[in-house]
């Protein structure tokens, strides 16, 4: 109960109720305090309801009575389900007051209405701040320039606007050192420059207004360069299996070579007729040939100046041509001769030309025939040549062999034998040499094959490792992103936590709640256990009673049967009946005792609650107030009578 009271008191203090520090529980609340607390709660919950009521109890009894009634009414309006009337406030008892105050405190509006349901990152916060600023600025009405106050000048005139003009900035440590040697070499000079002479970034641009633009530009270019390098390295760099420096240097060399080639090709003298137009389109072509189609499109779009000049030079051409035509026409002789002469002339010309044609065709045929003959004879001759060359070389070989044979001929027999043995010996030696060679060759070939296998295995290994590296890179990237997100989230939550009020210890509450929950669980277990025990007992009792009845019935019959004949049996029968009677009475008495014990317990509980209600003191108070009201009534009546008179 203490925690509940503490929480209630704390919440009531937050609504503005002035509660003394030594008031620790609801029991200690006086009527005035109760009224004040309720009124302040009502004011917070629903200002319309609460503003009509005053937090302090008026001295007069009837006024108090009225206040009590209105408060009760207000609570009913809010939806309080329990009984409430003037007596709850004026003649309070603890449990009622506690439940009412709990109801009111629950009704209090929650503070964090605009709860950040989504933890926003830093950038989102910044954007929200920007949005809020712009909203407020937009909310201000626009005023014409003459009416503007100075604080509006900033936001409503166009003066402060600047065009986005970025300038190159020079930052220390932003240049990559190509090699270590070079880095050492220029280490001192450059560092000195950075230390002594390099202006800070904010004073580098010529206009102060271009500082933010330049900074943004610089940062954007560095960021994009870094991202491009990342993506390129991850896709192509890793595959090339070079270190980053090697990869960079190779790429640079490749690009340089390409530029050289293009420039060299472009500077070759071109055999062109229109030199004037060529010079203008040269550049576009040159530039086009460098890059892909994208650069070409851009350059073409920009090249309107070139096309303009082209147009001008072309328009000159038709004029020139017209002039030339006119000149040629004037050269032609003006024919005043008659038509017949013309015809005759033409016919003569035609026949001459035809004769020429015939002659030429005849010539061509002759020449064709000659060519054919000559080709055929060429074939024959070249064929003959080849054949003769072949036969020559063959004959040379035969001559050589025959010469040697002739030398050996005088001593034919011996020489033959010698030759035989020589051949055999050479054959043997050659075979021996071959086996020697084989001894060397076989291991070499095996080695070659083994190394090839190793090589291919290594290739597979390295490509597998490359895959793994790629995967790792991806994982690294992902984990880095996650870590960043979590860091920002953590920072943000820490900030939130810091801003939260520390007076109420949430952990204590949560601990207590958890304790209570465990206690309840334990109690529930105990209750279930007791219930099951009770059920067991009841079952046993039922079973035993049944058994008893059955046993008695059987015994009764048995004994009664014999009782007719035997006297002693009759006596024992009587004793049996009496025994049964007495035992039944005993059992009954025990049951009654149990019931009465339960009633006693219930009554004792009721007494306790009634005591808590402090009914006696309340009754005394009521009597007193009744007396006071009667007095007031009589006083008022007297006043009225006096007034009438």
């Amino acid at each position: 109960m203490e925690e509940v009271d503490r929480i209630l008191i704390h919440s009531l203090r937050q609504t503005g109720t002035d509660i003394d520090d030594d008031v620790q529980s609801i029991k200690q609340f006086s009527s005035e305090l109760i009224v004040e607390a309720v009124v302040r709660c009502l004011r917070v919950i629903d200002p319309t309801l609460g503003n009509g009521l005053s937090p302090s109890l008026p001295p007069g009894m009837s006024a108090r009575f009225r206040v009590g009634m209105s408060l009760a009414q207000a609570c009913q309006d809010l939806g309080y389900k329990g009984e409430s009337g003037y007596q709850t406030f004026l003649y309070s008892n603890e449990p009622e007051i506690r439940s009412l105050l709990m109801f009111l405190v629950e009704k209090l509006p929650r503070e964090s209405a605009e709860a950040l349901d989504q933890p926003a990152g830093k950038s989102a916060l910044l954007q929200k701040a920007i949005a809020a600023q712009i909203k407020t600025q937009l909310a201000l009405p626009w005023l014409p320039p003459s009416c503007r106050l100075s604080l509006h000048c900033k936001t409503q005139s166009s003066g402060p606007c600047h065009s986005f003009h970025a300038m190159q900035l020079s930052l220390p440590y932003s240049l990559k050192a190509p090699t270590k040697k070079q880095a050492k070499g220029r280490c001192n000079f450059v560092k000195e420059y950075w230390r002594e002479y390099l202006l800070p970034v904010t004073s580098q641009p010529s206009h102060h207004a271009s500082v933010p633009a330049s900074l943004l530009e610089n940062h954007a270019s560095e960021l994009s360069a870094a991202q491009e390098w990342e993506s390129e390295w991850n896709s192509q760099g890793l595959l090339s299996r070079l270190t980053p420096e090697e990869y960079c240097s190779r790429k640079r060399a490749r690009l340089q070579k390409r530029i050289e080639e293009q420039l060299r090709a472009a500077t070759q003298p071109r055999p062109d007729t229109h030199s004037t137009t060529r010079s203008t389109s040269d550049l576009t072509d040159l530039l086009n040939s460098f890059g892909g189609t994208t650069t070409g499109v851009d350059i073409l779009a920009k090249g309107t100046r070139f096309t303009h000049s082209e147009k001008f030079t072309f328009t000159q051409e038709p004029e020139k041509a017209a002039q030339q035509m006119a000149a040629a026409a004037s050269i032609l002789p003006s024919s005043h001769q008659s038509e017949e002469d013309l015809k005759a002339k033409q016919e003569v010309e035609i026949s001459a030309l035809q004769e020429q044609l015939q002659q030429l065709s005849v010539q061509m045929e002759e020449v064709g025939g000659d060519i054919r003959q000559l080709t055929v004879s060429i074939h024959q001759v070249s064929d003959e040549l080849k054949r003769r060359e072949l036969s020559n070389s063959e004959k040379e070989d035969t001559v050589r062999v025959k010469k040697q044979t002739i030398n050996l001929l005088p001593d034919a027999e011996n020489n033959l034998v010698k030759l035989q043995s020589l051949v055999e010996a050479s054959a043997k030696r050659v075979v021996y040499l071959a086996s020697q060679w084989e001894k060397h060759r076989a291991p070499l070939i095996d080695e070659h094959r083994r190394l090839k296998e190793l090589c291919s295995n290594r290739e597979m290994e390295s490509s597998r490792k490359l895959c793994e590296i790629k995967d790792l890179h991806d994982k690294i990237r992902q984990s880095a992103e996650e870590a960043k997100k979590k860091e920002s989230l953590y920072k943000q939550l820490i900030a939130e936590y810091d801003t939260l009020p520390k007076d109420v210890s949430r952990s204590a509450y949560t601990m207590r709640i958890l304790e209570i929950i465990s206690n309840i669980k334990k109690q529930k277990e105990e209750i279930t256990k007791i219930l099951s025990d009770t059920k067991e007992l009841q079952k046993e009792i039922n079973g035993l009673t049944g058994k008893l009845d059955r046993t008695f019935a059987v015994t009764d019959e048995l004994v009664f049967k014999d009782a007719k004949k035997d006297e002693s049996v009759r006596k024992s029968y009587k004793y049996l009946a009496a025994l049964h009677e007495n035992c039944t009475q005993l059992i009954q008495t025990i049951e009654d005792t149990g019931t009465i014990m339960r009633e006693i317990r219930d009554l004792e509980e009721q007494i306790e609650t009634e005591h808590g209600k402090k009914t006696v003191s309340n009754l005394e108070k009521i009597l007193e107030d009744y007396k006071a009201i009667r007095q007031e009534n009589s006083a008022l009546a007297a006043k009225i009578r006096e007034g009438q008179v």
Binding site: V376, Q380, V431, S435, H448, K452
Partner: protein, 354 residues
């Protein structure tokens, strides 16, 4: 007994070994006495082991700058002494054309190598054949050079098959061969190519010149150079690209489609007339006769050719130095196609006056 097989022993030039191993590498592992680097490249290309899709050609042969090469390829089966070798080829280069002889010999050498796994054995066999003309084979008897006569090699091709595939169009092949033109034959399968092309030079039996035969050529610069060094040739290609190379042929034979085309620039030279029709009929008749064997068909054709040549020679003898001129031919008033043909034939047979 010392059996020196005449001058034939000088015909073999070298023997070599190509192996394909488990790393899918094809290497020249051994040769004797030596093979030039250029020839080694060519032979690697011809050996089917360099192709990615392994289609095993047991035996291929061809010509490169007047050197005949014969390649037998074997697929190594377990159990074997050859570790890490999946296939190998034995290559024999020689000056003469005799596929049967060298096929048998290389098979013997292959078996030796499979059994012993040692090239020295190959060398022993090679030297034995070189010096004695005989090689002891472990399995079935021995290999004797003298069993393989060159005439048999020339006659082993089947002219009847050629005629049955092309019928009257065989006369185009006959004309082209007689006039020493360039014939290119295409077939995707090298075995079919070899079988068909080796029969063609038999149509010009009086020359017995198989050096015009290049049965297996790739479209590669040096091989084409070797081809161009002959005035007329019969060349076989497996590469379908050769259809576009009209600079390489006067007559193109598409074997799977059984089509013969005469290229534009040779149409005039290959004009055919009544004489050709006659010869064509004769060839077809002779080949279709089931009683006559290949040998006899070739003989018949050569008899006919001899007739024509004799006529030409008799014509030539009337002129100066027993040489023919175009005017002498024109005096005979042959029909123009026949005149053209005889004129060119005279040139091919060295009968023309320069």
């Amino acid at each position: 007994e010392w059996d020196m097989a005449e001058s034939e022993t000088q015909l073999m030039l070298s023997v070599g070994l190509i192996e394909k191993d488990v790393n899918a590498d094809t290497l020249w592992v051994w040769c004797y006495p030596s093979v030039s680097a250029e020839l080694r490249d060519v032979l690697l290309r011809k050996c089917c082991l360099t192709l990615d899709s392994l289609v095993l050609h047991t035996f291929v042969f061809g010509q490169y700058y007047r050197t005949w090469y014969y390649i037998s390829t074997v697929d190594v089966q377990e159990p074997t002494v050859l570790k890490k070798v999946t296939h190998f080829s034995v290559v024999i280069t020689a000056k003469d054309f005799n596929p049967e002889k060298y096929a048998a010999f290389s098979r013997v050498l292959c078996r030796m190598y499979v059994k012993h796994g040692n090239p020295v054995k190959i060398m022993e066999g090679y030297i034995a054949v070189l010096t004695k003309g005989i090689c002891q084979s472990d399995e079935n008897g021995s290999f004797l050079i003298r069993d393989y006569d060159v005439r048999k090699a020339y006659l082993a091709g089947s002219i009847k098959d050629v005629v049955s595939q092309f019928g009257m169009e065989t006369i185009i092949l006959y004309t082209a061969l007689m006039l020493k033109k360039r014939i290119v034959i295409y077939h995707p399968r090298v075995e079919a190519l070899l079988e068909f092309t080796r029969a063609l030079p038999a149509l010009a039996w009086h020359r017995k010149d198989w050096s015009i035969l290049h049965p297996y050529v790739h479209l590669e610069d040096r091989e084409l150079e070797s081809l161009r060094s002959c005035t007329g040739y019969v060349a076989g290609f497996v590469d379908p690209e050769v259809t576009n190379r009209s600079d390489l042929f006067d007559v193109f034979v598409n074997l799977p489609d059984s089509e013969i085309t005469i290229s534009q620039h040779a149409k005039e030279a290959m004009a055919m007339g009544k004489l050709h029709k006659e010869i064509g009929h004769f060839i077809v008749q002779s080949a279709e006769d089931t009683d006559r064997a290949d040998v006899q068909v070739i003989k018949d054709i050569s008899v006919k050719t001899k007739e024509i040549l004799n006529n030409l020679v008799s014509l030539a003898e009337e002129g100066q130095d027993a040489k023919l001129t175009l005017e002498m031919l024109k005096q005979r008033h042959f029909p123009p196609a026949t005149e053209n043909f005889l004129f060119r034939l005279a040139a091919a047979e060295q009968l023309l006056k320069i």
